[in-house]
């Protein structure tokens, strides 16, 4: 399939279709509205269904129903809209249903701004809903990666029985890059024998959310955490960029990692032995990347479009908060390459 130049928002819509998703429930919000717009015309062409829900709350609960009915299902939104979906995301997580949720983040908090941001890390990675749970969180840094991750998200969701959140931002949603769509499922997926399909001549199926007896509820929780342990063991993903000889490492994901990448080329030119660990999964956080490198690295330079929401995860991974320096822009500001270069020099000093 030849590459096409596509807007991130449309590309993720197409990626969903290529991955076999036929159901989308969502509500408009800048900077992701092209996702529902695109799918409103493209899904019907492949026999799929697009429903513009009355709200994000309704949308996520439609997703809950469609996921329970056994379908591959997508919703997307941007920061405040995702905040509204938290209760519903908790329900889907609790029920152990597969669903894919795209968040094209914008600056916050509250209504904030419509410019790109990365300040929904906590809400997404730590969990913005009640109770003990995790969702898999994928963080693409390009339109192609967004496409690939959306496709993978459906497989991970089905494989593990859990929501998968693709955490991108307005920039990735709005920019165009060449993309190609090569969906290959790498997981062996079991048939969804648990789904709501009408019992026919078989056993009836139930999807529960209230587990009123604490012992049962705890057992239910524990079973989730057994699943999470497997995910933590198997699904950590990250990119190491120029890390072979690096003495300093940037840590950055998504859009900000691209600025860092540019900055690194300037810094390398200036003789700094610096690379980057770019988490591609935010949950599970790629702790393995840090375990491997731990001793070698003098400082981790965390760069985010937030006030430092990932810092604790980096600190936990490298087990030394004093090794971390942070540079962040917030409220929709995308840092410029120069700033990062300067930040790097400040941290690394004459230490080349």
């Amino acid at each position: 399939m030849a590459k096409v130049l596509m807007k991130g928002n449309e590309a993720v819509g197409k990626a969903a279709i290529e991955a076999g998703c036929r159901y989308f429930f969502g509500y408009p919000i800048t900077p992701q509205s092209e996702v529902p717009e695109y799918l409103s015309s493209e899904l019907p062409k492949v026999g799929g269904v697009f429903v513009q829900a009355e709200s994000e709350v309704a949308a996520i609960n439609m997703v809950y129903g469609a996921a329970g009915a056994g379908a591959r299902v997508l919703t997307s939104s941007s920061s405040p809209g995702i905040a509204l979906k938290q209760e519903g995301i908790g329900y889907i997580s609790n029920a152990g249903l597969p669903a894919v949720i795209i968040n094209m983040m914008r600056g916050g908090p509250g209504l904030g701004t419509i410019q790109p941001g990365q300040a929904d890390y906590n809400m997404t990675v730590k969990g913005g809903s009640n109770g003990d749970y995790h969702d898999i969180v994928l963080a693409p840094a390009s339109v192609q990666e967004a496409v690939d991750m959306v496709m993978e998200a459906f497989d991970l969701a089905d494989y593990y029985g859990t929501p998968v959140i693709v955490l991108a931002d307005g920039l990735i949603g709005q920019m165009m890059e060449p993309v190609e769509f090569n969906y290959v499922c790498k997981k062996e997926l079991a048939p969804k024998t648990w789904a709501l399909t009408g019992k026919g001549d078989g056993e009836k199926h139930m999807i529960q959310n209230l587990v009123i007896e604490p012992d049962e509820c705890e057992a239910w929780n524990k079973s989730h955490f057994e699943k999470y342990a497997v995910i933590e063991a198997n699904e950590q993903a990250w990119e190491e960029y120029l890390m072979e000889d690096a003495e300093y490492a940037f840590v950055s994901y998504g859009t900000s990692s691209r600025i860092v990448r540019s900055a690194i080329s300037y810094l390398r030119e200036a003789g700094y032995k610096v690379g980057m660990i770019r988490p591609k999964t935010l949950w599970p956080f790629p702790a393995k990347a840090f375990e491997k490198l731990d001793k070698k690295i003098k400082k981790y330079m965390d760069v985010e479009m937030s006030m430092g929401q990932m810092v604790q995860d980096v600190a936990y991974a490298c087990n030394d908060k004093n090794k971390i320096e942070f540079y962040g822009r917030t409220g929709g500001v995308v840092p410029a390459v120069d700033e990062i270069v300067e930040f790097g020099k400040r941290v690394m000093g004459g230490d080349k």
Partner: protein, 184 residues
């Protein structure tokens, strides 16, 4: 090819975004890495609209051009004022001289004043193709993509019922290209 960082800016409706898109498309067709990154937001409605295009042979880092730009295309005065400073050494400023002018001389850059609105109006009866005229000037002035690739890009961007726009676009492109060739 060195990494080319281009910024197209103007009023909403002047076609800055599609100018950038054609350029990016051409880059892609030549097999380069490309990115096209728009500004978006409420200011787009009646306000300014700009996009950043990067064409490179390496994976593209920041898709936003905040410095070291090779080329800035300013279709109106506010855009010129806002973006002229991101040009790097030896960068080219392409000005829609019907609506904007560089007020203070700037060292280390080359300036091309193109009366694109006038040219477009004279040839096509409206300012609609000023953007493509400027694109012609861009391609002539910096080392990005080949003219043929732009032609190719036209056929991809203007598909189906839009194919009828191709001849005029090609013509406008050549006008700009030649204008730049003969500049000064």
């Amino acid at each position: 090819m060195n990494t080319q960082r281009i910024c197209c800016a103007g009023f909403g409706g002047q076609g800055t975004l599609s100018m950038g898109k054609i350029l990016a498309y051409a880059g892609m067709l030549e097999g380069h890495e490309v990115s096209w990154c728009p500004s978006y937001g409420p200011e787009m409605r009646g306000g300014t609209a700009n996009c950043h295009v990067i064409v490179s042979d390496e994976p593209i880092g920041s898709p936003v051009v905040t410095s070291d730009a090779n080329c800035v295309i300013a279709m109106n005065q506010p855009s010129l004022d806002k973006f002229v400073d991101i040009l790097g050494k030896g960068g080219v400023l392409i000005v829609n001289s019907d609506l904007a002018a560089l007020k203070e001389d700037k060292a280390d850059i080359r300036v091309l004043n193109v009366p694109a609105n006038t040219m477009s109006t004279q040839e096509f009866g409206g300012a609609k193709l000023a953007n493509i005229i400027l694109l012609g000037a861009v391609i002539q002035s910096i080392n990005t993509v080949k003219v043929e690739s732009i032609d190719d890009a036209f056929t991809h961007v203007f598909e189906g019922s839009k194919a009828k726009f191709i001849p005029d676009n090609k013509k406008a492109f050549i006008m700009g290209y030649e204008f730049a060739q003969n500049y000064k």
